[in-house]
């Protein structure tokens, strides 16, 4: 099942990506939202 974390400040994106990588995800996507925050997702 796809997962995503939305509304992430730029300074926290690295931590969230690392959480997914540590959990065994091989592909992690980062997308910038219109409001300037970020969405980190895995397929």
């Amino acid at each position: 099942m796809a997962q995503q974390v939305t509304d992430i400040p730029r300074s926290e994106v690295g931590n969230v990506v690392q959480d997914f990588v540590d959990n065994g995800e091989e592909k992690v996507f980062v997308e910038k939202q219109p409001d300037g925050k970020y969405t980190v997702s895995v397929p």
Partner: protein, 425 residues
């Protein structure tokens, strides 16, 4: 009289065949089911037909037909046929549901078998389960329509045979009824966890919407059982039917002007003889029961049918539509869908397909993040989440705004301490 006794036995032996649903047409059988199931529906319960012991809370069935077709079927027949059983889950929340009541202490993983097959006991213990009650069911029959009143209990055709009548009315009382169930919230978490497994997802994906046809999973959350059915049949005919009234003659009690002692003795002997005849000559299909005549006269007979073990007569359930890729949509009550009070269970929305959280960590997030840096700790946490049937992944738990209560629970459960730890470290 001597000639009538063998004939009476023959009549009893053939009685069930004469009134057997096997000899009925499909239309008659459907009418049979509908009449029986109306009693269940009046009690806001979906009907099980044919009766079965093997329907349990936590059963997940595949429903192959659309809600519209099911409504049509339900309206016409009064019941919904069970399709394919996909899995049987053992609900994990029985402890919160029943505490230690109803003989459930330390039996959380065994319900309902501790009622069905109690240890060191020769009989079942359904009497300890939560009780239930149903209204009685009345019926009428005329010549040529006798099969239409038949219900899935054997006492009715036997009663009709005894009276040898072409017109009768009667009542059926569902006795010794019991019930058990589970909350939808907890069982649906189990369904989510089950549906997220790759093998399950692959299976469900085969039933994704196809050319407008939607398939569903149906989850049983409560069942109702009965251990005994009381049947009374009264002869409405002015005269008997075409067969020799062997049994009816024997049932014409009391005879004219006997002494009071003769009446009592004769009546007792008659009931005993009939009971012996029934139980000696009737083949009981499983799940079976024993039938005893409680009272008899020339115009009426009352019988009690007791099942070896209680059987399920009704249930409560909810449905979830199967979407593309095997994802499940939001739940809807099966009964409410059939009654038209809610829309059919919808297809899964993007939010159902994707686990999404809004970023919002707290102090516990850093504590948990540090804890799961160790692979063994991560495995321990994941095992605990699985045991709690929590499908949210660890990254989402760490970072989700709405996951603060769960994070606190984890910190306390694993005694992680930190600024928010309440269990000490």
């Amino acid at each position: 009289m001597r000639r009538t006794i063998p004939l009476a036995i023959a009549l009893l032996l053939t009685g069930c065949t004469l009134f057997s649903p096997k000899k009925a047409t499909t239309q008659q059988l459907e009418n049979v089911a509908k009449e029986w199931c109306l009693t269940m529906r009046a009690s806001q319960v979906l009907c099980v037909y044919p009766l079965s012991e093997d329907v349990q809370v936590g059963d997940v069935y595949l429903v192959n037909t659309s809600i519209a077709n099911q409504v049509k079927q339900y309206t016409q027949n009064g019941f919904l046929p069970f399709d394919m059983l996909l899995t049987r889950m053992q609900p994990v929340n029985y402890r919160a549901m029943y505490a230690n009541a109803y003989a459930t202490q330390d039996q959380w993983g065994n319900i309902p078998h501790q009622w069905q097959f109690p240890a060191n006991a020769p009989t079942n213990n359904w009497a300890a389960a939560p009780h239930a009650a149903f209204p009685s069911y009345t019926f009428a029959v005329q010549q040529g329509q006798s099969l239409k009143l038949a219900v899935p209990v054997q006492a009715v055709p036997i009663g009709l045979s005894l009276l040898n009548t072409t017109q009768a009315h009667g009542a059926i009382e569902i006795d010794d009824a019991s019930t058990y169930g589970i909350d939808q919230l907890s069982v649906d978490q189990q369904v989510e966890a089950w549906a997220a497994c790759p093998a399950t997802r692959a299976l469900l994906a085969r039933y994704a919407p196809d050319a407008g046809n939607t398939h569903y999973v149906r989850v049983i959350t409560r069942v109702y059982l009965t251990g005994k059915v009381n049947v009374s049949v009264t002869n409405d005919a002015q005269r008997g039917g075409g067969l020799d009234a062997g049994v009816t003659s024997a049932a014409q009690l009391p005879s004219a002007a006997p002494s009071p002692g003769d009446v009592a003795t004769g009546y007792s002997n008659l009931v005993t003889t009939l009971n012996n005849t029934i139980n000696g000559g009737t083949t009981i299909a499983k799940p079976g029961g024993s039938i005893r005549i409680a009272a008899v006269s020339s115009r009426s007979v009352s019988l009690n049918e007791t099942f070896d073990r209680p059987i399920v007569i009704g249930y409560i359930a909810y449905d979830r539509a199967i979407g593309p890729g095997g994802a499940l949509g939001q739940a809807r009550s099966t009964l409410q869908q059939m009654e038209g009070t809610v829309d059919p269970a919808p297809q899964p929305s993007p939010n159902d397909v994707t686990q999404s959280v809004t970023f919002g960590p707290d102090a516990n997030s850093m504590v948990i993040r540090s804890f799961v840096k160790d692979a063994a700790n991560r495995t321990s946490l994941q095992n605990w989440l699985n045991a709690q049937t929590i499908t949210l992944t660890i990254p989402l738990i760490i970072n989700g705004q709405d996951q603060a209560p769960l994070r606190q629970r984890i910190v306390d459960e694993f005694n992680l301490g930190g600024p928010c730890g309440t269990a000490g470290n």
